[in-house]
Symmetry: C2
Subunit: 358 residues, 2 copies
């Protein structure tokens, strides 16, 4: 194991598409979504703890989740938990972590990862990460991990790479965010497109240079904190900086612009757990293709996700492709595949019934 | 108002098709199903209190509902509440009430009625009852109240009558219980078929004679209690008698066999409230034909019955023709029209999850 590997776990998402299971007070990454007894954040930490030592695994999230993170990952020192004061997408999150880590270890190689995905082949995953770390250590490469697509998914970003047989770190040709179905089908067919997993690997030097080149204002903002990181002044510095910082993803800010972007294709049983429907696909199903959680009885019902409430009997008849999710204060019955409607649900429920249901 | 009108309200049903709203501990007739603030039993009592004096309105039900009846109808004297010890269908229930009332008033005319139906035109209803009472007072007629059908309903009994224009009390030709759809459609088309409302009118003399003729064993059983009715011995007499008595409806036992059976057609906004679907038809619906109870938000959903739980938000999307009924310990999601599956639900839930959910 290289000793300079740092991991930055991004844990600031709101998990909207898993409402009402995922709530503003405890979003998806803090929940035991898979049913292993560990939250997705904890599983992500465990996975990376095979790659990096505990003192080099950092978590970035909103300050309102500070207690949850400390509770779920008591192994982390206070300075390893980076608290954002506003939602600003992935670029500021990565800039903050990069400049702070640079102050401690200018030779670091950083793996950036979402906190709420599932990976079922851990060994294969580690191999992909080690390949990427080695490449990032040797060259000024910005590396993203790509997933071989198995369906014309329209909700993901696609990465086209230059075919180069025998080389595992491939030069990226194009990025395409959320293509329409026909285009996604063409991508799938062509064979040289991968899904963007949102996992990145680069050296401190490479990513700082990229920020300076493509987001110089943001680079200047976070560079100005070098005296404050690891001190009592860090929190107020971040509050001020985030209020001035633009809201942009690392893909738009850097990956789609930089020349030195590479992709390592991976096949490690990945799922972004992006919706109830995705979860339905990876969970154990009964002979009628229903995922059943809790005390549930089904009749003439196929391909549903039924999450019953504890201490309650749920009887379902004549349902096909539905999500039925019963919680203390919210019952949701909807088409399992229509994950795009969740934003409406949340906006409307918040407006009409109040924040407490969100 | 004739002074010899007695009303026997049958309130021993289990309301299976309204589970999980209707429960074994408090079935449908004891619930405020319509939302008027009065239970169906109370509404039935109120309706008949315009026709008979309070002291002549009697309720027959299972002994386990004694407290509920006393609570909901405190106007009743103890002897007006007839408690059955076992479920034995309508013939024993009517025999019990008939022999007991005969002991008090051999000149009574009895109106027998279910406790869990809705009647929206009270004035028209009273007119039909008065016509029937008059006929029953004058002749030895067993009269049933018939409802003009408006759809080929397969869940009801049909009564064919001899056409006799200008006569309101019509001779019955045939009874047909629960016809198949094509036969029901023919009945509807022919114009001389009525639905059997389960409301009967007859004199004490006529019904006792009919029991003696068609159910002589049952007649003998209940006649043997004449010394016990209105005494402390009544309860143990009934316990013994019910254990020996056969389980049969008044339709099979007498109405389908007797020669002197008549029907009075009525048009008084009747509903048997036989299922959630029936209730959906009579309740106020939104512009998408949804009946909404509680704090519910719907998207792309039509023709549903959605009963949300108090203090909870229910979000429904992409549903058509469903019942979604959320209670403390049971959630039911099923096709609104498939009321025949309720028996399975209850049998299975009882077997697999326990009595407490029934």
């Amino acid at each position: 194991m290289s000793t300079n590997i740092y991991v930055v776990i991004m844990a600031g998402g709101s998990g909207t598409r898993f409402w009402p299971y995922s709530r503003d007070a405890k979003p998806k990454q803090f929940l035991d979504v898979i049913g292993t007894g560990r939250s997705l954040l904890q599983m992500t930490f465990d996975r990376f703890n095979e790659i990096a030592t505990t003192d080099k695994i950092w978590v970035v999230s909103n300050e309102k989740y500070e207690d949850l993170i400390q509770e779920q990952l008591p192994e982390l020192e206070k300075h390893q938990i980076l608290l954002e004061t506003e939602k600003r997408n992935t670029a500021p999150c990565i800039a903050y972590a990069s400049y702070k880590i640079m102050k401690q270890d200018p030779n670091a190689v950083i793996v950036v990862s979402p906190s709420d995905h599932a990976i079922f082949k851990e060994k294969e995953f580690r191999e992909v990460i080690h390949t990427s770390v080695e490449a990032a250590n040797n060259d000024e490469k910005l590396i993203t991990i790509g997933i071989r697509p198995n369906r014309p998914e329209t909700g993901y970003g696609y990465i086209q790479y230059l075919s180069d047989p025998g080389v595992s770190v491939k030069k990226v040709k194009t990025f395409t965010e959320k293509p329409k179905t026909d285009l996604a089908a063409k991508f799938l067919e062509s064979g040289d497109f991968l899904w963007n997993s949102g996992i990145f690997v680069w050296s401190i030097d490479s990513i700082i240079k990229a920020f300076e080149k493509y987001e110089d204002e943001m680079a200047a903002l976070f560079a100005s904190g070098l005296n404050d990181y690891y001190t009592d002044a860090e929190r107020s510095f971040i509050k001020k900086t985030y209020s001035q910082c633009k809201n942009i993803s690392i893909d738009y800010a850097i990956m789609e612009k930089a020349e030195n972007v590479y992709v390592v294709p991976g096949d490690f049983g990945w799922s972004d757990l992006g919706s109830w429907n995705t979860l339905h696909e990876i969970k154990e199903r009964d002979s009628d293709e229903n995922v059943i959680e809790g005390s549930v009885m089904t009749y003439d019902s196929t391909n549903n996700y039924i999450k019953g409430k504890k201490g309650k009997v749920t009887v379902v008849q004549g349902c096909e492709g539905m999500l039925i999710a019963d919680f203390d204060d919210v019952l949701l019955v909807c088409k399992k595949e229509d994950s795009s409607v969740f934003r409406d649900f949340i906006t409307d429920v918040k407006a009409e019934k109040g924040d407490k249901y969100i």
